[in-house]
Symmetry: C2
Subunit: 130 residues, 2 copies
DNA sequence: GTCAAACTACGAGGATCCTCGTACAATGAT
DNA sequence: ATCATTGTACGAGGATCCTCGTAGTTTGAC
């Protein structure tokens, strides 16, 4: 009777529990915004280890948790890995267009700075947004 | 030779200096989001004293400064008062649709909570967004 | 000059946040 | 069972943030 079948469960806020202020705060950090952009560009769930971030593993865990607790991403264990996926549909139902708009704004800012912070591969990926 | 004609000048970030992270952070606070919503609903410049906020005057000044330094609002002195106006056009040029989307999200959340935090007059104002 | 109104500056308290290092837990393969 | 992989927990340091009170500045009216 130690631990049944459930491997490791993570708490997520219910859709109705998601607060706009928390979402905006979650997206207001450069590292987290980068994570979200990569997740959006990938269109799939990605493991934490997939990300190459300018912070340590501990800090990475922290940022993923902030995103999860704000309701921006969903996390599920898959073997030793933990898959992260955007809660795009839910967010869109709650705050129509918010995520896409922020993502577009981030792309625009990135392009303006001419930096190499592009999340996907080429900086000319955008065209189809829906 | 103490002070020429300039009454009191305030520093604002140039349009190109505005950072998405700073804007999102500025909007992630409940008090500031409320200020922005009222400003958007008013469609005019409003003095600080016009706002009835759950914080002291000192704190109000602080929040207005955060909004100004993030590039969300523009502040100008007008006699003893200080008029605040949204930098909507500039923000929209930089981050298309961002402000409107956040404003709509805030309205949606407000409506969901059934609270009396409505910025304008009636809670049924939305219809024409552009 | 005097007075009221509107806002700021400064400093402080307390909370939250970002970052890290080290130690630990869970899974899958050997 | 042993080991490597993946990610967590805990605690701590340092920065930033929100809030306030008090004192001070600028403007306009009397």
């Amino acid at each position: 009777m130690t631990t049944p079948a459930s491997p490791r469960l993570l708490e997520h806020p219910a859709r109705e529990e998601i607060r706009l202020e928390a979402v905006l705060h979650a997206l207001s950090d450069a590292v987290r915004l980068r994570i979200v952009r990569e997740l959006a560009a990938a269109r799939t769930e990605l493991s934490c280890s997939h990300f190459v971030l300018p912070v340590t593993k501990s800090t990475t865990t922290h940022h993923f948790r902030v995103l999860r607790e704000a309701g921006v991403i969903r996390q599920d264990y898959r073997g030793t890995a933990k898959l992260n996926g955007l809660r795009g549909a839910e967010l869109d139902a709650l705050f129509p267009g918010l995520l896409d708009t922020v993502l577009a704004a981030a792309d625009a800012q990135s392009a303006r700075e001419g930096a190499g912070e592009a999340p996907g591969a080429s900086p000319v990926t955008a065209t189809a947004s829906g």
